[in-house]
């Protein structure tokens, strides 16, 4: 223990086949995740930011093997998850948990909260029913559902959106996971409630900093900034920039990061109306027929000849990784 990083992702790819092949020809693939690698230490927190179709959610699902990868390796505490059979994988499930975007869709509407969280202990531990009840009560209190006894016999529909997300968080941390992935944890919630959940996630993060590695997925880099230290910007299945969130916001290097950050509405009219804008052109191209070379080149204001031919590699520039020819000789 402690010798390897908690999570190591190596050249992970996930291609979806679309359309049918005719005599082996004309097979088309959507390269939802295309060669992504990173490592994350215990106590580390990584945000994955991107727009729809960037592959951020697919990547999370592949890491947890909720989707089978096309190729690549993922090590959790030194164990390659992609080499495990179903039985071995199930044993490891408690160690890796996910919080989903829509709490209503990820809670069984016909079960009470006691059952929803209690089931986790029933499946993965051998503790008695009395003990399970105690553990569930502890967890509910921990995620701010107080008094916890009041919530045990409720159904998900009887809770507000924020309370439901708290139940999902309680379930995810029930068995002290080593890896916790939150996929758009607040985007289904109202603005005034979002802050409460962000605060809760931060509290849990600080409490478990020595045991756990975090990944937060969002389209909103402001949210990532409140929750994570580092971030990866994804565009069409590829990582275009990786570094400290604060630094990327201050000085984005990749033209796509620049565009993304200058597009975010600033809730202050003075700044919003006087800031410099990166001109935006075009929309995200289709993944079925992505442009040749750098996927961003049709929208890029600094496009050069070689961008149209070859995909730029992810290289180290100062304090981060960038995939853009502007920064290579």
């Amino acid at each position: 223990m402690g010798t390897f990083p908690s999570l190591k992702v190596e050249n992970v790819k996930k291609y979806f086949q679309v359309g049918r092949a005719v005599f082996g020809r004309g097979k088309q693939y959507v390269k939802a995740v295309d060669d992504v690698s990173f490592t994350l230490d215990v106590g580390g927190s990584l945000g994955i930011v991107g727009e729809s179709g960037s592959g951020k959610t697919t990547l999370a699902k592949v890491i947890l093997r909720l989707l089978e990868p096309t190729s690549g390796k993922v090590y959790l505490d030194g164990v390659n998850l992609f080499s495990l059979n179903n039985k071995e994988l199930r044993k490891l499930r408690p160690k890796m948990q996910m919080i989903f975007q829509d709490p209503m869709a990820s809670l069984n509407p016909r079960k009470k909260i006691m059952h929803i969280i209690g089931q986790v202990f029933k499946i993965h531990t051998g503790i008695s029913d009395v003990e399970i009840r105690e553990r569930v009560i502890d967890l509910l209190a921990k995620v701010g559902l107080t008094p916890p006894e009041l919530f045990l016999d409720r159904y998900p529909h009887e809770l507000s959106g924020g309370q439901r997300q708290r139940v999902c968080i309680a379930r995810a941390i029930a068995l002290n996971p080593k890896l916790l992935i939150a996929d758009e944890p607040v985007s289904a919630l109202d603005v005034s409630v979002r802050g409460q959940i962000v605060k809760l996630l931060l509290e849990i993060y600080e409490k478990h900093i020595n045991e756990i590695a975090y990944i937060v997925i969002s389209h909103d880099i402001a949210l990532i900034k409140s929750l994570c230290k580092d971030t990866m910007v994804m565009y069409l299945g590829k990582v275009v920039e990786k570094g400290e969130v604060r630094r990327i916001i201050e000085e984005p290097l990749h033209p796509y990061s620049q565009m993304l950050i200058s597009s975010i509405p600033v809730p202050d009219p003075e700044i919003a109306r006087n800031r410099k804008r990166i001109p935006i052109s075009g929309e995200i191209p289709s993944l079925i027929n992505p442009p040749k070379g750098c996927y961003f080149h049709p929208r890029c204001p600094y496009v050069m000849d070689r961008c149209r031919e070859k995909t730029p590699p992810l290289i180290k520039v100062d304090d981060r990784l960038v995939s853009c020819y502007l920064y290579s000789e």
Binding site: G162, S192, K225, S262, P265, P269, A272, I280, I284
Partner: protein
């Protein structure tokens, strides 16, 4: 001041009749819109902001009723609430246009997009299809759709989200309405596309001299394009002010909390905390001020009596007992 008014809503109440009881979605809203201004109506889900917008257009579902109040359209001062259906149809599209949140649900999936734009022009101007189609292509070009004459021949599913939203905007402005109502126009779009559509919308409003009512939950968008902001909570307006002064010094505790809850990329620790509790059930809203169960400054008076929306200075009105 009064001459520049183009729309005046007074004490509007729109209720939904459901199996759970009467939902008081818009409960006594008074508001005016001036010529050429962009007014934002900001609120969370269930605040009644969309119901307010749909009430102005009289496009409410069957179980909703406008039970009280008036919506005056100037300069004739006609009351839209009491207008016949036929007359209302002449107002919709020609005098008030609307942009909807989800472009896929509001476009006809089996009709070419150019024809959908042309349809509105033919209906209101009584011109031939040929003329209307030509004008439709011009409009699409104006919305910076590349290769507009070709795009006009396509069906909605062949277009991206941003393109579809531009088609919706083209339909809304096709008859040069005086007022444009946009209900969450960019919520279904990605941020980079959102920025582009907003930029476009801002330019159009300016060019065509339209007044805009922007319904949104996003205080970031409002800061970019609106002149005035009305904050709605649980069916009521709690604060209305000029954009700059609202962001600089919000007065109502809900506005203060909402502005704090918005994460800002250039500030640390913003957006953490939020407002305790969650919005009330509008079948059975709290007596007194509807915000009191969540308010950090609550005192006795708030529980018993509802605060009226009081003008505190030239450009601001607040509904809070702290201000009195």
């Amino acid at each position: 001041m009064n001459d520049s008014r183009i729309l005046e809503i007074s004490n509007l109440k729109t209720y939904y009749y459901t199996s759970r009881g009467v939902v008081r979605a818009v409960d006594g809203v008074t508001l005016d819109l001036r010529k050429g201004e962009s007014l934002a109506i900001v609120g969370e889900s269930g605040s009644g902001k969309s119901t307010l917008a749909f009430s102005i257009m009289r496009l409410l579902p069957d179980n909703a009723r406008i039970i009280d109040g008036s919506i005056w359209l100037y300069p004739e001062k006609i009351d839209l609430v009491r207008l016949s259906n036929d007359d209302m149809r002449k107002v919709r599209g020609r005098r008030i246009g609307m942009v909807f949140q989800d472009p896929m649900t509001f476009l006809n999936p089996v009709m070419r997009v150019g024809d959908q734009v042309a349809e509105a022009i033919m209906y209101h101007h009584g011109c031939t299809q040929k003329v209307a189609r030509k004008r439709a292509v011009e409009l699409l070009e104006r919305l910076r759709i590349p290769d507009a004459s070709n795009v006009a021949l396509r069906y909605p599913h062949q277009l991206s989200g941003g393109m579809k939203q531009r088609v919706i905007i083209a339909i809304a402005i096709s008859c040069n309405p005086e007022i444009l109502i946009a209900d969450e126009p960019t919520t279904a779009l990605d941020v980079t596309v959102q920025a582009e559509v907003l930029e476009l919308l801002r330019g159009l409003i300016h060019e065509l001299g339209m007044s805009l009512i922007l319904v949104t939950h996003d205080l970031g968008i409002v800061a970019e394009i609106c002149d005035r902001v009305a904050i709605m909570y649980a069916g009521k307006i709690v604060e209305i002010a000029e954009t700059y002064s609202l962001y600089k010094s919000p007065k109502h505790p809900y506005t203060v909390g909402l502005l704090k809850a918005v994460p800002r990329i250039h500030e640390s620790n913003s957006g953490v905390g939020g407002i305790r509790g969650s919005p009330p059930d509008l079948v059975n809203p709290p007596a007194g001020c509807r915000f009191y169960p969540r308010c950090p400054f609550v005192f006795e008076k708030c529980l018993g009596e509802e605060p009226p929306l009081i003008r505190v200075n030239n450009d601001r009105a607040v509904a809070c007992w702290l201000m009195m």
